[in-house]
């Protein structure tokens, strides 16, 4: 396979980008006891106040625990409060009520941020050469010069910018800028990666690369908190997802549990007419349709009574998009304090 070598090389670079948490060069060796949650939001509320008496509640009694070592998808429509929650975790804002911890430290703790990588939505960076920029952000985390130089090269290779490392990021496209943003988030080999829309400006190839990077990070024991509107991507890589709507958590669970509906069953049968069941589709001699799980037995008996044969019975699989639309279409929690 002529194209296999570059792919394998890229994969190796990605894996080398991450070290196991106990090997971190930034932090030095440390003991791993029982892993504390990576992120904890405890009854957090955030209200934005503006003159004269307007008040917008962006987060309302929001609680969530993100366990160490998982890829966590954080979903919600625009204005749901996702970025607000992330900014509170990073210490960019102070909550109106409640509290939270990041890597065991209260939100806003500068020392805890040394073990965190963050990529903001619509990333904005200083106009410098890409490699120097990544080194600048690494140095802010207290990284040593020699290790930082090596590390900056590694992460730029990992995000596919090795050819552009000497170019000024002011001349980069939005997608390239997002990749440099990712490189600066990875440079300190973080235990926790907080990514706010990391692939929104990327082309499909770059998205695949970022996906590989995130999966490699999880393999290395890192935690990833991913806010995204790209539901198909979240569905592919996230272990758990939470859906936020109008500042409230409206759905939380393991991705595979959410995608498998317990309410409906997908039935495939042969030897019957498609017209025998509503919404049934015939294809290559088999008929497939979904039925309520409660009526499963009756439907199977009906197939047999019609002289048909049951090929398979499975819980219906839903897409994350369907779940998202379902939970965000309903009116959000009552908010008498100014939300339109």
């Amino acid at each position: 396979m002529p194209g296999a070598a570059p792919v394998v090389n890229a994969r190796l670079w990605i894996l080398r980008t991450f070290q196991k948490p106990c090997q971190s060069r930034v932090l030095g060796p440390f003991r791993i006891g029982r892993m504390a949650p990576a992120l904890e939001f405890e009854n957090l509320s955030k209200e934005y106040r503006s003159f004269p008496r307007r008040c917008l509640r962006a987060l309302d009694d929001f609680s969530l625990v993100v366990e160490a070592g998982e890829i966590f998808g954080f979903l919600g429509p625009n204005g749901a409060g996702k970025s607000t929650a992330i900014h509170l975790a990073m210490g960019f804002m102070r909550p109106t009520h409640g509290r939270g911890r990041m890597l065991g430290q209260p939100f806003g703790d500068a020392h805890a941020r040394r073990r965190v990588g963050f990529l903001a939505e619509n990333v904005s960076l200083y106009h410098r050469r890409a490699e120097r920029l990544v080194r600048f952000y690494g140095a802010l985390n207290g990284m040593g010069r020699t290790y930082l130089a090596k590390r900056a090269r590694e992460v730029l290779i990992a995000v596919g910018l090795q050819e552009q490392s000497k170019r000024n990021v002011g001349r980069f496209s939005r997608g390239m800028l997002q990749r440099v943003g990712l490189a600066q988030a990875l440079v300190n080999d973080p235990e926790l990666l907080i990514l706010d829309e990391p692939t929104s400006a990327l082309d499909p190839a770059a998205r695949v690369m970022v996906r590989e990077l995130l999966l490699a990070a999880r393999e290395a024991g890192k935690t990833i908190f991913l806010s995204s509107h790209l539901l198909s991507e979240v569905e592919l890589i996230c272990d758990r997802v939470a859906v936020l709507h109008r500042g409230k958590l409206v759905r939380l669970g393991r991705t595979r549990d959410l995608l498998h509906s317990s309410e409906k069953t997908e039935i495939v049968a042969r030897g019957i007419a498609a017209s025998a069941f509503p919404e049934a589709v015939a294809h290559d001699g088999v008929v497939s349709f979904s039925a309520p799980a409660t009526a499963q037995r009756a439907v199977l008996e009906q197939i047999w009574s019609l002289g048909g044969e049951v090929v398979s019975v499975n819980p219906a699989r839903r897409s994350l998009e369907e779940i998202f639309l379902e939970v965000t279409a309903a009116p959000g929690p009552a908010d008498e304090k100014g939300r339109p």
């Binding site: 960019f92 804002m93 500068a110 619509n122 904005s124 960076l125 140095a139 802010l140």
Partner: protein
């Protein structure tokens, strides 16, 4: 200390064009020195020197007053404060950055002033004392502006700074001279403005010490206010 220094150097790098424009004023003084009859036009040279010196105080107010606003508006502050940088370290970096930017100017002016005014008979040690006064005045003015810029936009921050720096000067003239030392930017500027070939003056250090102490006080106040500010909220 390393993040503070990095933020300061980065600030100077970001402000390199305004600093370059400021240095053109120093170049003007150098041209005057080159193409004028220094002994005969020494009063004109001193006048230009004083004018060029006090401009930088106004510039340090603009540097300090716009630093946080620009960083918040461009959202570049998020990437910086997502690292292991505490808010007070970030502010310290900006104070140091404003001081370095002013220091570059003061150094260039000191070199040019030593050459032009020194040749006209002005004591060179006095030129450098004036530059120290100028630098400390810039540092204090920049820190006051930075303090206001933590919660005001640059226009209002500059106005508020002008009021805070100007009111003690007015009180010094109207009520009692001691009032001008409340915020000693005006007395430091006055030391420069009152210098002459006839009476270059003697080194008077108390306002300088006071400026250092007040810079520290305003820095502490700025850090306290800035720690309460929601920096991710869009600025107007």
């Amino acid at each position: 200390m390393k993040p503070v220094f990095l933020i300061a150097v980065n600030f100077v790098r970001e402000q390199r064009w305004p600093i370059f424009v400021l240095l053109l004023w120093v170049l003007l003084l150098a041209f005057l020195g080159l193409f004028s009859d220094i002994p005969r036009q020494r009063e004109d040279l001193l006048f230009v020197f004083k004018q060029v010196a006090v401009y930088v105080i106004a510039f340090s107010v603009f540097f300090g007053g716009s630093a946080i606003y620009n960083e918040r508006k461009s959202r570049r502050i998020l990437a910086v404060l997502s690292k292991s940088v505490a808010r007070y370290q970030y502010l310290s970096g900006l104070v140091l950055g404003v001081t370095i930017a002013s220091g570059i100017y003061c150094f260039a002016l000191g070199i040019t002033g030593s050459w032009t005014l020194g040749e006209a008979g002005f004591p060179i040690s006095r030129v450098w004392f004036l530059m120290v006064c100028l630098l400390l005045a810039c540092m204090l003015a920049g820190t006051v502006a930075l303090m206001f810029s933590t919660f005001l936009n640059p226009f209002f921050a500059a106005g508020a700074t002008a009021a805070v720096l100007g009111l003690p000067a007015l009180a010094g003239h109207g009520i009692a001279t001691q009032w001008q030392y409340a915020i000693p930017v005006y007395p430091l500027a006055a030391i420069i403005m009152k210098s002459s070939f006839q009476a270059p003056g003697v080194a008077f250090w108390p306002p300088l010490g006071l400026a250092v102490l007040e810079t520290l006080a305003f820095w502490v106040l700025s850090a306290r206010i800035f720690s309460l500010v929601d920096i991710a909220v869009a600025v107007e």
